[in-house]
Amino acid sequence: MNVSDQRYESSALDHVLILAPYRKDADYLGRLLRDHDIGVRVGTQADDLDELLAASPGVLVATHEALTPGIIAAVAGHLQAQPSWSEIPIVVLLDRASRPEQVRAELGRVWPRARLLFYQRPVTTVELASGVQSALLARLRQRDVRDHIAKEIELRRELNHRVKNILASVTSIFEMTRRGATSMDAFAEDFRGRLGALDKVHSAVFRSEGDSTSISEIAQLTFDPYLLHGEDRIVAHGPPVVLSREPGTTLALCLHELATNAIKYGALSQPKGQVRFNWTLSDDDEPDLAIVWQEQGGPVVEEPTRAGYGTRYIRSALASIFGTKPLIVFDKAGLRCEASGPFSRVAGQPLTHGRVKPE
């Protein structure tokens, strides 16, 4: 196992590095800790210390005799190289005859950013073992902090990505709305409506778990503003289907375009006009999702000479999410829009590749 593998394995407690020049001390301490199921490595001389420290022990246990200038310097170097989350616990076993305050002050100076724990011999087995165990648990908490920091960095990166993405979306909506606008007022109304649709679906995706949203919820939040006096002018129907964020957002924006178009020029511009919005999943192992928007009871439909924003957007956007172009039919009896494609392309699931996954 290499060093970095070991550093990132946080499930088990770390091992303890014993620094004891006297073989007898080292053997005694090693046996004691192993009896308490604590993993141990032993350094009896300064030579192999760098390698032992590089293996990232969770706790150091040092006898008084180990506090030589060479070992102190090597440990100091290791402490200095610690990442910011780390404060390695070091258990020091002082001689019976030593003056603890003095050693404590000296080590506190040369070993900053260590959690020093002192025992003076003779020390009971229970005392020492429980001290080392508690130091290992403290070390485990430090690694938890490290994991949280890593997660936060990842979340910030993801947040940045999303903000950029949404700004890019708004820029595109702005540019495309501007191109199609005939007046400042018309521009403002269309732009506001499109941003409103984007806002609503964003909230719906945010509220749901797993960064996804159902088609019925998308339909509801898009059509609710148009349910006049309790009449169901738009009837939406289909099985429970959950879409991931991007396809869900795109479908909401398409339905917004279809609905506003129907209100201005289509079925919903007349009192008796109606819209049916249906979606179905085919009965296959790898099912297809199909959506149909059908207007009826409106004025006689004529194909526009030049496709506007709505039609062009729907063609492009539904092709993006389904992989095939939608069918938009300007039938005299009512506009119809159909699209279908593999459900797997749009299915709601934990976030895509390489981004933060929910726990």
Binding site: A168, R312, A317, I321, T352, H353
Partner: protein, 129 residues
């Protein structure tokens, strides 16, 4: 409306790798207004590898971040090996610059109509058309 057209020369066939459908829409409209052919949009490098055999294209526009990760540069290198020139469409100019040997350069985001029109014309030379 300020349109830049492909003029008398033949239209170019353009593929776009981008996972945001709104941006796809925006670029698609511009490309069609120029008089070129928008072949389609793919949201990932893996989708490109899958669909490439059935595509007939003169050049590609590529975002750095796609649905399968930051795979835009891999896609550009992969297309370069197959003789297809590309531009990165991105705000991350410095990342794109690192891959200068496999692409013709960068179209900066947000995309301006004039810059896009000019850069797409460079596909013509590169493709020898």
């Amino acid at each position: 409306m300020n349109k830049t057209t492909a003029g008398t020369s033949s239209p170019l066939r353009i593929l776009y790798l981008e996972d945001n459908p709104l941006i796809v829409f925006h670029i698609e409209q511009m490309i069609e207004d120029f008089g070129h052919v928008f072949v389609g949009a793919l949201d990932s490098f893996s989708e490109l590898q899958k669909q490439f055999p059935s595509l007939e294209i003169d050049g590609a526009l590529i975002d750095i971040d796609l649905a399968d990760g930051s795979t835009g540069p891999d896609a550009a290198a992969w297309l370069h090996e197959r003789g297809i020139p590309s531009f990165f469409v991105t705000g991350q100019a410095q990342i794109a610059a690192e891959y200068g040997d496999v692409s013709l350069g960068v179209v900066s985001k947000p995309v301006s109509q004039n810059e896009l029109a000019t850069k797409i014309e460079l596909f013509r030379e590169s493709a020898g058309r």
